[in-house]
Symmetry: C2
Subunit: 191 residues, 2 copies
Amino acid sequence: MEKPIQKRTLATRAKLIAAGEAIVSEGGFDALRVEEVVSRAGVAKGTFFAHFRDKDALMERLIGARLDSILDALSEVPAPATIDAMVDEMLPMLQFMVSERYVFDLILRYSGAALIDDIGPIGMCIGRHETVVMGWLNADGLRRDVAPKILAEGIQAFVFQTLALHFCALHSDIAIQSRLRSYLKPWLLAH
Amino acid sequence: MEKPIQKRTLATRAKLIAAGEAIVSEGGFDALRVEEVVSRAGVAKGTFFAHFRDKDALMERLIGARLDSILDALSEVPAPATIDAMVDEMLPMLQFMVSERYVFDLILRYSGAALIDDIGPIGMCIGRHETVVMGWLNADGLRRDVAPKILAEGIQAFVFQTLALHFCALHSDIAIQSRLRSYLKPWLLAH
DNA sequence: TCATTTAATTGACCGTGGTCATTATTAATT
DNA sequence: AATTAATAATGACCACGGTCAATTAAATGA
């Protein structure tokens, strides 16, 4: 099972992704249209779907790329010593996730990967995040009676809960942080 | 601000909902097409959108109706004394939520209502569920150091987390229950 | 009962995601 | 270089959600 991918293929895919990025940077993820992507890339519509299963697949790549660069920064940072610091460090990721309703919905839909062998870019990022967070759980004062994996999954759950509620009300930035803290303290702190 | 709704209006809406229910009962929620709904109801397409903001709005009503009847049963039941019993009692709701990927996605999308004054049927159901669950939190052995509202919201978060992960792997029914238990015990039990 | 205002219905039309048989390119073989 | 096999690209076409100016029916007032 070799990989006889011609470089024409790579070039075309790169053009599609570049076009997608350009559109997103101009009008946001919500504004992306497949027809606009192919016209900018100078290819036919059918070509798009030869490279991406559907529109969401490109969306996943674009959003996954953003998440990856946020995670790159996150994994450089020292482990936070307090819940407050933990929330602060996660803030950039949270802010990106709620930057557009469309983005949040898509992340939500793909964060639980569809199939085991078909984990997409977003699923990968969620996994990365879980790994990073799991590395934080040795701090003093955190509970030891629950497996780190479970704790990390719980953090994910509370992140999504927080962001979902964020879209309900008059959302100030401070609300996200304080709400998340109010979940994470009872979840993580030994008491 | 009276309510001069002619009964023709109610009749039309009822026909649309009945048609929707029939389609769903035959082919599932995923199989519902607006054109099929209007043709069965014997009205024009535009009429549909005079009664429902969009297709999702009908979907919300249909799914909300199912959830409501499940919640009716749930609120009759005595408060569970253990986490295991709690999970067992929630099981019917969980099973419905994962009965179709489409259903889960839609519930997820609308569980955090979009606007304060625009809480849809699904948002209402989530609220009902929260209320019911909050009533369970006086059982012996449950922690008292966290506000019941936060605890109940946390339960919601873990339910969604559990169901999202359910779609990843080889999902047996038992997996849902045991995974949810593994979250709820550290979340709810005094320790 | 007719005229007028208000509300409900209609269906042609559009935007956009996605398909697929056909055609064009590239790689492999002689 | 010519032939063939495999891969990529094309664009007309379809499915389906959603719109809106025009039409019809119901309520109201004289």
